[in-house]
Each structure stands twice: as structure tokens, then as C-alpha cells.
Symmetry: C2
Subunit: 338 residues, 2 copies
Amino acid sequence: MVTLGDVAARAGVSVSAVSRVLSNHPSARVSEATRCRILQAACELRYRPNFAGRALRSARTRVIGLVVPDLTDALFAELLHGAQDEARERDYMVLLGRSDNLSAGGEVVGRLVGEGRVDGMVVQVGDGVPPAGLGAILASAAPIVLLNSVYEGHVGSVVFDDVEGARLATEHLLRFGHTRIALANGLRRSYTARQRGIGFRSALAEAGLRPAGRAYETRLGYTAADGRGALRRLMNLPEPPTGVVVANVDAAIGLLAEARAAGVRVPRDLSVVSVHDSWTAENTWPPLTAVRMPFSAMGRAAVRAVIARIETGAMTAELVGDPAPELVVRESSTRSRR
Amino acid sequence: MVTLGDVAARAGVSVSAVSRVLSNHPSARVSEATRCRILQAACELRYRPNFAGRALRSARTRVIGLVVPDLTDALFAELLHGAQDEARERDYMVLLGRSDNLSAGGEVVGRLVGEGRVDGMVVQVGDGVPPAGLGAILASAAPIVLLNSVYEGHVGSVVFDDVEGARLATEHLLRFGHTRIALANGLRRSYTARQRGIGFRSALAEAGLRPAGRAYETRLGYTAADGRGALRRLMNLPEPPTGVVVANVDAAIGLLAEARAAGVRVPRDLSVVSVHDSWTAENTWPPLTAVRMPFSAMGRAAVRAVIARIETGAMTAELVGDPAPELVVRESSTRSRR
DNA sequence: TCACTCTGCGCAAACGATTGACCACATGTC
DNA sequence: GACATGTGGTCAATCGTTTGCGCAGAGTGA
């Protein structure tokens, strides 16, 4: 391993001179000739600063942790990409942690922050995590930004405009003349599910429709299996809906598959619109009408927020509105037949 | 931050005593009473060893890097889970790097290893990376294990039994009486694509079928769009195949969607079997018959291999055969009508 | 010439954990 | 009594980087 000392020896100067030159420190008062010798020596020896040495000395790692509950879908990949792009531009790295089922990833947060492996964290809590578990994590006083959830008294969160996303999806069905519209939503305690419920109902209200009743809003979850369950429940109603807003694209994919299996024709018998878009939505049958949410921008915003928290102490509760949620019309939705 | 010194002060001993006790060092000769005091002090102060200090001193991080070209599908998630499970059991962490389009992630390997952020790496090179780029990475003499590709002279790779996987898929179609079977394969230079081609052709040969000709093997790639392209190409042949083996589940999903759009009925007109299974394959229409490959086991094996390389210097070229590839029959394949 | 200031660097002390060397004391052996 | 052995620890060096401080020598103004 090449150290500062090696470079210094080759350039015939002291380690401090090398350090100052290589990190462009303002206090680096060296002649142009010396600077050149140092740079050349570093280049020839392929010097790379040692991460541990630097982190130990400066008590900063320039790494931020990202903890998500699930990464089996393309949405997460987009989020991670945005986060990594933003991090790279600011000379940070992203360390992907794993939030296990138990304790909302509290252990991983403790490890990463407690052992000084990261300077701050972006945490997305799982759908089914009770708020109690969250408190313990946030109590650590470490720079933490929550993703898609807000917690009493914790300012430091980045959320989608889920209300608007759900509203867009609902309005699309309303424009197609649907009046009996269902919502296949996430779990009740999920923050995003609550927001999407609000957007859904407000769109209905604005259209002068009274809510179709509790039974038309399932709250099973965001997985494909949950979407399947939602379809069965909704189509077994005395008056099944003619349109359904699914709060997650993975659930919509399951719902679509279950519709085929149950003989429900989409979009003829049932129009389907999902919140979230991904490459999988283009490849269902029929191709899924979806509201594209800015996952990449959210990743960027989260990293930006946590870096701001680290470097300036500023706390932000940000709503990611740019680019705005956008409806992508495909073939799973059509005009109501009545 | 709580340091060893803080714990030592509270327990009334020296830092070295604390260090030895907390790390269960064999040279820790302390009385039972002292050991207790130290443990209690550490517990009360919530001591956590500082990562940087430890890494600097020991020149080891107990972190291994995982670099993959693409993480938009569920397969990758399974791989990562396996890797993380194995790492955790051996008291390591996994750091997910990003292999950009350019230079096969050579830059990220250089950074992670060069700056001492990781002790070793698991690298899956992208499908379209020419072998030349690989050489540069492997030349760094760092502990690197390749995933699903082998490189001349580099022993340190973990691969699937792709030959067997493709063979299983092909034999399934053969048992159904298909004789005109196509292969929608990955790019020519891809190692896995070559292996899957071998398995495909050997199954045909064992069944006494002569290969149906070059045109029946497309080599477009592993994405959904590539699968769509493969379907169009194959169904435009003078004598379209009645069955197709798709070398990747994402491509199979695209192929299925394109079949619907083109009016090709699956499985009536065309039976489809894919290599790789994932939750998305259960939710296509018709549900996709697939060969389940042991992604989780591969993640574990890769981490095991790189740790072995780090700790004992042992190099391995391993074929992940347990659990063996397994055919999961769903509804996208059926008996040939002739 | 003296007292400054400025330039161009080097010295050395941290940061936190690990570990070989060493020390004081007690006990056992010849 | 001299010596070895064992017990229960402490001391101090080390890893690589950063940074406050100091120190020559050159230049400047009075």
C-alpha cells in the first residue's frame, strides 16, 4: 500500500506538504515546483488516500447509509441510482444497509452510525413497522432522514406527493366515466397508504362522488400477493367496482394476474391504474396504466437532505415534487361501459 | 463518541485491558472481577468499537464489496440477500458498489480496494463488457471473485450450472413433443449465454434432433426489450418455432408481452420456458414456466470464496450446484400440437 | 542595521484500537 | 536464599492522515 510517506520520500518533502498539496488545502504554501514534484510522485506511485486513516483523523467518513425494507422491485433500484448519483456529485458514497424484519432495522442503524461507518443515514421503514420501533432509532441523535414516512417531532424526512399521485390515478378513471372505483391500498399504519387514501378520496369528492364505502378500499399491502387478494375481495362484492386504483405497481401486477385467473377481463370488466411505474408495468398484459413517481429524484433529495444535516445541521422536511407525478396511459384502463 | 479510554477510565483499568477483554483475546489475562467491571462499564457506556480505528490498526475492514451491473430485477435482490447472510454469519459486511456502463466498473474496484474500504470484492461484469476491461481489474492483485464469468488465468470465480439450467428448460419442451425449439439467448460474448447455448444444444442433440439452424438462436440480450425483439425475429421465420427457451426471466417477460401484442397465443402457439425464476414470473400471463436458479446460494458461495481468499489465500473456481436448478412448471408451456 | 513580514516548508501531536514487551508481586522449587 | 514460573495487569509503539505551530531564509521599510 502506498502511503503519504512513500510519496513524500519520492518527492523529497515531508508528509504534511504532500497532504496539503493533494487535498488542495488553502494552507498549502508550496512553490509551484514542489507542487509539481508531489503531484508527479503521487501519480507515479498511484497513491490513494487510505480510507481508515482519513476517517480516523477527521472523524468523518463521507459515507451515508441507505436502509430500505425491500429491494425486490425496480423501484428501489431507481431510488438507489438517484441516491448514488447525488452522493457521487458531492463526493460521498452510499452504503446499502439491510433492514431486517425485526426491530425496523434499528440494529443496523446502531451499527452503522455507532461504529462510525457512516456519517448519516437515509432510512425507509417497512410498511408494517409500528411507530414505537422508529422512536428508538431516531433517538440516537444521529443525522437521519426518513424516506416516505414522517414521525412525530422528527424533522428530517423526504416524501413523495402521494396525495397527488393517487389523485392523478383516480381522476384518470373518473374522466373515463367510472363511478364505482375501488382503492387497493397498503397497510393501514403505513404513512404512504394514508396519503394515497387521502388523494383517492379527495378526487372522488371533487367529482361529486360520495365514497363508495369501506369495502371498496382494501388495505392489504404492497406485494403482488396482496394485489391478488385485493382483486378477489373486490370482485366478490355485490356490486364489484369497474375501476381500481392500486397503490403500488407490484400489487397491481399481482392484481392483474389474479384477474386473468379469475376471468375478470381488464380493461373491459375492470380498469386498473397503479401508483408507481417501472419496466415491469410495460410488460404486463394488458400493459399497465400507471402514475410515474420520481424515485430517482427522491433518492437524490434524501441524500441531499442528509448531507445538509451532516454538514450544516439543517433539518428539512421535504416533499419531492419535481418532476411531478405523471400519468402514463397504457392499456389497462378504458372508458366505463355505463 | 465512547472510546476504549472512556471504558477504561470507568472500570479503573488501562485501555489495553479493555481491548483484550472486549475482543476476547487469548492473551487477556485478567481476573474475573476485572473482566466483569470492564464488561459492565462497556455496557453502561454503550461502547461500540470505532470502525476507522480498528481498520487502521489492523489493516482490515471486514467489508467486502459487491459490484453488479444491474439491480433492476428481483434476481439481484436474492443474490444480495444470500451474500449478506453469509457475510453476517462470518462477521463481515457487504458494501454494494455500482458498476457503471463505462470501464466495467474498473474505477469502482480501484476505489474500493485502493482506498482500503473493502478487503475483497465480488464482481459481476456486465453482459457487454469486453474481456479486455476485465484484465485491468483483475490485475490489481486484490482478492476478487468473479460472478458468472470466468477469465483466462484468473482462478476465483463462482458460476451457476448454466448448462444444466438450459438443458432442463429444453428437455421440458422436448418432453412435450416440441421439435422446432428456439433459444432466445444473451449477447454472444457473455459467458453465461455461451453456457446456456451449450446446454440447449446438448439437450437437442441427446434427443436426436439436429439443431434447427442459426436463425433459431437469437443473441439479443437479457432485458425485457431484448425478449420482445427475440419474439418478433423468431415469429417472422418461415417456420416459426413452437417452443422457445428464454435465457433470462426478464427477457421472457418481455417476450410474453410482445407475444400478446403480436397475437401469438402462449402456450397454444408457442410454449415459453425461461432460465431464472422470480416473483415476477408468477405474475405474468400465462404464468411463466421457469428454471429456478440458486441465486441466494450463489451469493453465499461468492462471499465464502472471497473470504477464503482474503483469510487463507485460497483461490477457488466454484460451480454452485446446491440447490440444483429446478424446473417450475406453470402455464406458459404445453404439449406440442403435432 | 534592525525589526518586520512573507514564503516555503517541516515537526509533532492528535484520532481510536491493537499488541508485543515489560513489570510488580506472589508462589513454588532446589 | 536464589531462582524460575505464573498471575494480573500496564506501557508504548503503531497504523495513515490531518493540521496547528514553528522555523529558517528572503525580502521590505525605516
